[in-house]
């Protein structure tokens, strides 16, 4: 009967129910979009690190992100790393911003990523046209399909200039997007060095693969001791550092999280206001329940059930709209991400928001004097 009474109380005033649901719905959509953008941004920022075949990253000292490492490491560091017990392989990787000159004129920026496919260090992971072998061809480069227009090319076979040399599109990826809005352009290690005009022993990162059974913490400490001018980071540490740089030092992440918090607060206030006024409208019924002998907790459960029902209905509607927004953003430069985990936490947040909203109504009914049933 608690559920029945809660549902009937909600349905009793359809306009107020609509206002409540719209409040929750907007709140959910806003939070979902903000957190979806946050997740999408995080995924973009860490995608290359996450997909690299490395247990440890050796970076130049203080490198702030994947895109911002400089091309300063030499073969000396590589050999030092290779000589460290527990290290199986050390694969060099070149990453640097580079100017991209469009065939039709004008320029843009790309993040040039140089890595040899046979080293299995970091390869473009979602090729939709062309193969890894195609990228080995002279002047070959792979870019993401979504950036073709922005880079002034139309597809495979088109040429442009990247940094100091000409490149030809030989392969296309799909879904590798860049948070910095400078598209990733994948080529071989030496071709990247040539394009950037850096010596052949230079690299931005050294990807360390550990021998089976090696203790990662010990190897990391040993490497850090040997390589005084470099940082030795686990994947997680490097991802965190990149996220800190792009999301928090630039303020973008804070803006997204701030928007999500604001959305939750607005939703909470709207639901609180409508639940409170609904409780006020039904106060004589709650007083009657109290006079009939119901415990306070029984009445609290009715109000919480109202809040819970609002949460479930609002969440379903909100998520439906959020998923539509998500779908619409799939080809944008900053696609939203929705994971089962985020969907679960959004539901938990909605329930929490509605429960908090119920507090004012619960305080109101706690003060009910059942004697008022005789004064109607």
């Amino acid at each position: 009967m608690i559920f029945t009474l809660a549902l009937r109380n909600l349905l009793h005033d359809r306009v107020r129910l609509a206002v409540t649901l719209i409040g929750i719905l907007f709140s959910i959509v806003l939070v979902a979009v903000q957190l979806g953008l946050y997740l999408g941004s995080s995924e973009m920022i860490t995608a290359n690190i996450a997909r690299s075949n490395a247990d440890l990253f050796i970076t130049t000292y203080g490198a702030k992100s994947f895109e911002d490492g400089g091309v300063l490491l030499t073969d000396r560091e590589r050999h030092q790393a290779l000589a460290t017990p527990g290290v199986e392989s050390v694969v060099p990787l070149v990453v640097s911003f580079a100017e991209w000159r469009k065939p039709s004129g004008g320029s843009s920026r790309v993040v040039l990523v140089g890595s040899d496919a046979e080293d299995r260090g970091l390869i473009p992971w979602s090729l939709v046209e062309g193969t890894l072998d195609d990228i080995k061809a002279p002047d070959a480069i792979a870019i993401d399909r979504s950036y073709l227009g922005e880079l002034g090319v139309s597809g495979i076979g088109d040429s442009a200039q990247a940094a100091n040399g000409r490149v030809k599109i030989r392969a296309l990826t799909e879904g590798i997007r860049s948070f910095t809005q400078s598209p990733y352009a994948y080529t071989t290690l030496n071709r990247a060095r040539q394009l950037l005009g850096v010596p052949e022993d230079r690299s931005t990162f050294l990807l360390v693969k550990l021998a089976p059974g090696a203790d990662m913490a010990k190897v990391q400490a040993d490497l850090a001791g040997r390589l005084e001018s470099a940082d030795v980071l686990t994947k997680d540490e490097f991802e965190s550092r990149s996220l800190l740089q792009w999301l928090f030092r630039t303020g973008a992440g804070l803006a997204l999280i701030g928007g999500a918090i604001l959305g939750s607060l607005v939703g909470t206030v709207i639901v609180a206001q409508t639940l409170y006024s609904s409780t006020k409208d039904h106060i004589h019924e709650f007083a009657t329940l109290r006079a009939l002998g119901s415990s306070k907790s029984y009445i609290h459960k009715v109000i919480l059930a109202q809040a819970g029902l609002s949460a479930v209905i609002g969440y379903v509607l909100g998520m439906a709209i959020a998923l539509l927004v998500l779908y619409a953003s799939r080809n944008s430069s900053l696609p939203l991400v929705m994971t089962p985990g985020l969907a679960f936490w959004l539901f938990a947040l909605t329930l929490f928001m509605c429960s908090i909203s119920a507090l004012s109504a619960i305080v109101k009914v706690t003060k009910i004097d059942p004697a008022t049933v005789f004064s109607r």
């Binding site: 608690i2 029945t4 002998g293 415990s295 049933v373």
Partner: protein, 250 residues
């Protein structure tokens, strides 16, 4: 206190307000309710009858005096403990019915059982049973808005007796009803008292109800000023004139 009484009030006093606005609404009332009896508490407006009903129904706490229900003293009980006494022993009928407009007749009765922990099929079948008992077996799914005043009050009666309380307290049960419905409801209350051996106390100033009373308690200015009992052998509706009753107390 009589040996058979289910409710015993002893020297109950209730003060309302404070300071210059202090009003003593009930002034030393002593009263017993026994099973199988319909008692009318009559008095003019402002005489303290509804306040007394609230105190006897464990809704208000007396300023002083003692109340025992089913041999349990109410002294010092918390609001939640008083609510439990109401759940276990008391059924209420209100002047304006106080039905839930969003629940149908059956659900209005079921909710009274639900707060007492009776749920599911047991609650549904008991609700149907009491609604049939009050003659509303054909109106189970009707909402209060689609029921007449008399029918609504009968739903309220069904709600009050659904949990088989030993005491039924009614506040002006006929005040909002026409003559026919008033008699129907009073007849029902009388039957509940007699056939189900409950103590029924109805606060009223409606003279139409006199014929159904086993006992009439008169209250004025917060004090009981008289108590009259129906003579043996006279059936309820046959007597409407107080002068025909045997006066027990001055």
């Amino acid at each position: 206190m009589t040996t058979s009484s289910v409710l015993h009030a002893e020297n109950v006093v209730k003060e309302l307000g404070s300071g210059a606005g202090l009003v003593v609404a009930v002034k030393g009332v002593t009263l017993d309710l026994v099973p199988g009896e319909l008692t009318l508490l009559m008095g003019p407006s402002g005489s303290g009858k509804t306040t007394l009903l609230s105190i006897l129904g464990c809704i208000m706490k007396p300023t002083s005096g003692t109340i025992r229900i089913a041999d349990q003293s109410l002294d010092g009980l918390s609001a939640e403990e008083l609510a439990k006494i109401r759940r276990d022993h008391i059924g209420f009928i209100f002047q304006s019915y106080n039905l839930f407009p969003t629940l149908n007749a059956l659900e209005n009765v079921r909710i009274a059982l639900d707060v007492r922990g009776v749920k599911g099929f047991a609650a549904t079948s008991r609700s149907e049973e009491v609604l049939r008992e009050v003659g509303l077996g054909h109106r189970l799914t009707n909402y209060p808005g689609n029921l007449s005043g008399g029918e609504q009050q009968r739903v309220a009666v069904a709600r009050a007796i659904a949990s088989s309380p030993s005491i039924v307290l009614a506040d002006e049960p006929t005040a909002a009803l026409d003559s026919e419905n008033g008699h129907a409801v009073m007849s029902l209350l009388s039957r509940i008292a007699k056939e189900q051996s409950r103590s029924v106390l109805a606060v009223t100033h409606d003279p139409r109800t006199l014929g159904y009373a086993d006992r009439v308690v008169r209250i004025e200015d917060g004090r009981i000023v008289g108590e009259e009992r129906r003579p043996e052998g006279i059936n309820a509706p046959e007597i409407t004139d107080l002068t025909k009753r045997r006066k027990l107390h001055a």
